[in-house]
Subunit: 250 residues, 2 copies
């Protein structure tokens, strides 16, 4: 089993955007298996963490085009000329586990450690995973635009099957967390159809298939950005977890 | 699909140990989609590449213990006191795609590039994947001892599900390549049972289930080194590939 608790920690900022924050905080506090203390620090001592899913100089034209395609749908203008939330929401992405909450800064036990999230463990922009996630609550969909760097090689000139699985787990796990709260990955069934060339930009589309009790079934397709080439098809199963499940897993 | 051609390139050294080298060279030469030239260079100009699966200072006691357990079975002593090959063979592991062949050095088109294999893309010893593979031809098994570093984090304090999938794809793909020659990963069906704590050492055991025509079915279990804890169970399907399959995939 691969818990999605880490994603949940990152997810507080996302879920803040999605107004589910208060619902998830207590569960996740238990899930980390630690008693957290609320520490209020002046911002200059503890600046807001960097969002690694914003454009940088390594992003190619296709990555930028896809980012702008979804980003411009995060805020729309009414007939009266007023700005309001659009159908998509951009999810920030950090390189370590931490969360912020109203009234203070909550530190996970990992924040002081050297640990880094697997998908953000290389500092050199463009070398590994460059990606950004957007969620559409109404359509219960989540998309990820991925630019695969040269450090992700498996077959000559192509992305490692495990690197593809890593992004599928990240995107479907994030989506399941948003849909169902704290979950663990129970199964990933990945069909590899066509290799992904290093340096190319692809689209991951995660869709809710169904929810049955504790089970959340998600499907995910990885395609070329125009949808003409199918790279992988995945069915994923996530199980909602309670404090007892989390603690028993330790 | 995730080709295992990259593994095959690395595999020449393995397969040299397994005396299948000449059989695979022509197929792989096509698979890379390039015409290779044999370049004979003095060794001081082109030293043998580093094997990253040898012990280093980051290896913990359990990693060393498991390495020695299999390594001492790579060479056995006869009653007459002579040394001979044992049931297990250690497979070297590099951080880029290249192969050496008798009489010269063969360079892949990637060797001059910045590309690095996904599982060896971080130089800091112990920070990410520390692993070593051994193969048992008679039992048609392959094992991998993995020490998971702090840069592989998913859930707080535990290994990312994608990092686990990456090692499963690497080990089963390597095993399938040794058993069937050039293959591509067609399916990975991974059941996650129990999370893997960061810093811990686990054992991946890959077994041949069956071969049917172009299909090679492999199963893989990830357990604690004493086998008492099951972390994941996987069934994997690999398809043997020919030149036409490889070229049509581009």
């Amino acid at each position: 089993m691969a818990w999605s608790v880490g994603r949940i920690c990152k997810g507080f900022l996302r879920l803040g955007l999605l107004s589910k924050q208060t619902q998830l905080i207590p569960v996740t506090s238990v899930s980390v298996g630690t008693v957290r203390t609320a520490v209020t620090l002046p911002s200059f001592l503890f600046p807001k963490p960097r969002d690694f899913s914003l454009p940088n100089s390594s992003w190619g034209l296709e990555m930028m085009r896809m980012y702008e395609h979804y980003n411009r749908q995060c805020e729309v203008e009414t007939e009266g000329g007023q700005k309001q939330e659009g159908p998509w929401q951009k999810l920030p992405s950090y390189n370590r586990l931490l969360k912020y909450a109203t009234g203070g800064v909550y530190l996970s036990e990992m924040i002081q450690s050297k640990a880094r999230l697997f998908t953000r463990n290389i500092r050199n922009p463009g070398a590994a995973f460059e990606y950004v996630l957007f969620v559409n609550s109404e359509e219960q969909k989540c998309v990820c635009v991925l630019q695969a760097g040269h450090l992700l090689e498996g077959p000559p000139g192509h992305v490692h099957g495990g690197a593809i699985a890593t992004m599928i787990d990240t995107v479907t796990g994030t989506h399941a967390t948003i849909l169902s709260g704290p979950v663990m990955t129970a199964n990933l069934n990945i069909n590899y159809r066509r290799p992904i060339p290093l340096g190319s930009t692809v689209l991951l589309e995660s869709s809710l298939e169904k929810k049955e009790g504790r089970k959340t079934f998600i499907t995910c397709r990885v395609t070329s950005t125009d949808g003409s080439k199918l790279h992988t098809e995945t069915s994923a199963l996530f199980l909602s977890i309670s404090a007892s499940h989390l603690l028993s897993g330790l």
